[in-house]
């Protein structure tokens, strides 16, 4: 179950008889579980990340190859609504979907469409989780960019999808809200076993939260696996256009400066701290 891509190609142009079309995505093989995954999709601007996640929500159909979402093959005639209920996608730009006169109504729009019971109750519930209960009665058009983004995320969360996809969710959020959102995603992932997929350019987010990383380059998947193996590689920048996260940069600098025996492949503040303690032999003073 979950989402299965096999040899999927995609192009924004219509296929022409004689002429080859530019393929935005090519040869995609991917298997995403519907439980407990926390995936980060990274890659250069224009590498096809947004296109890939739109296929996961059956908004774009494959040009060739096989795409299965929750056991249903996605074709022109497939009934898509039940699939979209189970896979939630939060778009890169929230302003493209907000339209109701109050935030509450806008959040309840999704669950109402999917025919879920008590849409407004659900809306209040997710608003509580995201900490925007004070905005519920306001008009969405008076909100700031960051607030709007939270409303958009609530709008998807309210339908309670099993797989939750977010396209660059942390852009435009202040550091506090950003970590709040990420912690919430982590909680959804841990406690409710939801699969979370985020697109991000922020290597610190990848390093701290993701379990699995998918790297896209020029429309193809060039890496798919756990983050430690990825960050062990020497030439990330040259090969994948990626940077190292902050924690690894600090450890690397320390290692070079003091010639210390440090495993620089650490991905949380806590682990980094422990690694430093271990290397410099100081006892924990607490």
């Amino acid at each position: 179950m979950g989402i299965n891509f096999s040899e999927v190609n995609f192009s924004y142009q219509k296929p022409k008889r004689r002429r080859a079309v530019v393929q935005t995505l090519h040869g995609i093989n991917l298997r995403i579980d519907d439980k407990g995954e926390f995936i980060a999709i990274v890659g250069h601007t224009g590498s096809g990340k947004s296109t890939l996640v739109q296929m996961m929500n059956a908004l774009l159909l494959p040009l060739s190859g096989r795409l299965e979402i929750f056991g249903t093959e996605i074709k022109k005639k497939t009934v898509l609504k039940p699939i979209r209920k189970r896979v939630g996608l939060v778009f890169q730009f929230p302003e493209y979907q907000i339209f109701e006169e109050t935030v509450l109504k806008d959040i309840a729009f999704g669950p109402k469409n999917f025919g879920l019971p008590d849409p407004e109750g659900r809306a209040r519930e997710v608003a509580e989780i995201m900490g925007i209960t004070d905005l519920l009665e306001r008009s969405p058009f008076t909100l700031s960019g960051g607030q709007l983004r939270k409303v958009a995320i609530c709008g998807i969360l309210a339908s309670n999808p099993e797989i939750l996809i977010l396209d660059e969710p942390t852009v435009g959020l202040d550091p506090f809200t950003k970590s709040e959102l990420l912690e919430l995603l982590k909680k959804l992932n841990r406690e409710y076993e939801k699969s979370i997929i985020i697109i991000t350019h922020d290597m610190d987010v990848v390093s701290e939260y993701a379990q699995r990383v998918i790297v896209l380059k020029e429309g193809g998947i060039v890496y798919d696996g756990d983050k430690k193996t990825l960050f062990k590689k020497e030439h990330l920048l040259e090969e994948y256009d990626l940077d190292y996260p902050e924690t690894m940069r600090i450890l690397k600098a320390l290692k070079e400066r003091f010639q210390a025996d440090i495993d620089i492949n650490q991905h949380s503040i806590e682990a980094t701290y422990q690694e430093i303690l271990k290397a410099f032999g100081e006892e924990d003073e607490h």
């Binding site: 739109q54 929500n57 908004l59 898509l80 609504k81 979209r84 209920k85 939630g88 996608l89 778009f91 730009f93 302003e95 493209y96 979907q97 907000i98 339209f99 729009f109 999704g110 109402k112 469409n113 999917f114 058009f141 709008g155 998807i156 339908s159």
Partner: protein, 325 residues
Amino acid sequence: MNTNPVFGQYYHADSWLHRLDPRTKILGTIIIIISLFLLNNLAVIVGAFGATLVLILSSKIPFTKFLRSLKMMTTLLLITVVFQLFFNRGKILAEFDFTLTTVNLAIGIAILVLFFFSRKIITKHRFFLFLALLVFCFYLQTVVKSGKALANYSLAIYEEGLYTSLKVVLRIITLLLISSLLTLTTKPADINTGMERLAKPLKYIGVKVSILSMMISIALRFIPTLINEAGRILKAQASRGVDFKEGKFMQKVTQIISLLVPMFVISYRRAYELADAMEARGYVPDAERTSISLLKYRARDYLTLLFVILLFSAIIALKVSDYAI
């Protein structure tokens, strides 16, 4: 992106038509189109069509570029031809007797059913296939006479109808080709500047030409952007369970609102941002402005315009003195 879908977009080549001043081309095109409607003699129209083909050759633009604008009009042309062919009275050129019998009615229905079920296998050119089959069904009625006759009728093609339809079709095709010639040899910005210059005299009756032309060019520029944006909104709402294929009336209303509101909001914001950006770069609506593309009238422009005007005058003169042109 394609801002001008009916007539082709600018195609770069190095020809005398490309080098002409846009004002000449715009005026020339208008005059030629008016002349085309004045012509009413098949031979003369054929001549005009030939002359247009020569012009196209001299523009060094591949003919396939012109075919695109013709293609979009095929349906219209076909309907015109059919109507003119059968509904004009006069001398009969050919007459067809049709007998609708049980046999050919059955065959006809079978063909249409087969056509309907072939839509999974044959996906392209279905319209032409349908036309061919329809003609075939009528043809059957003239040859297959077995079975019980249900109805007898006849259709006639009149000479008058044939001529009229030929004239109409040739005129429309020539018209499309001439207009495509303008848009294919002139950059949109140049067309805009040309129009603005031509409309200058309007300022004496209180029309603010430069503002008007700015408005038009911005509007044209944003059409593809808005189409793009509509696509994004559609996707964003689809992922929230909006399904445009279903729903009762009230749901349909909500669905449409869920598209229109973001559309308006985004357009408004865009308009304000653009206004600010223009102001930040020193745009003052009423200021005297110079253009990035300086238009200069040269000898070839005067010559071309003179030729077109002479042609037009000749047509008028001949018309007035009752020549059948």
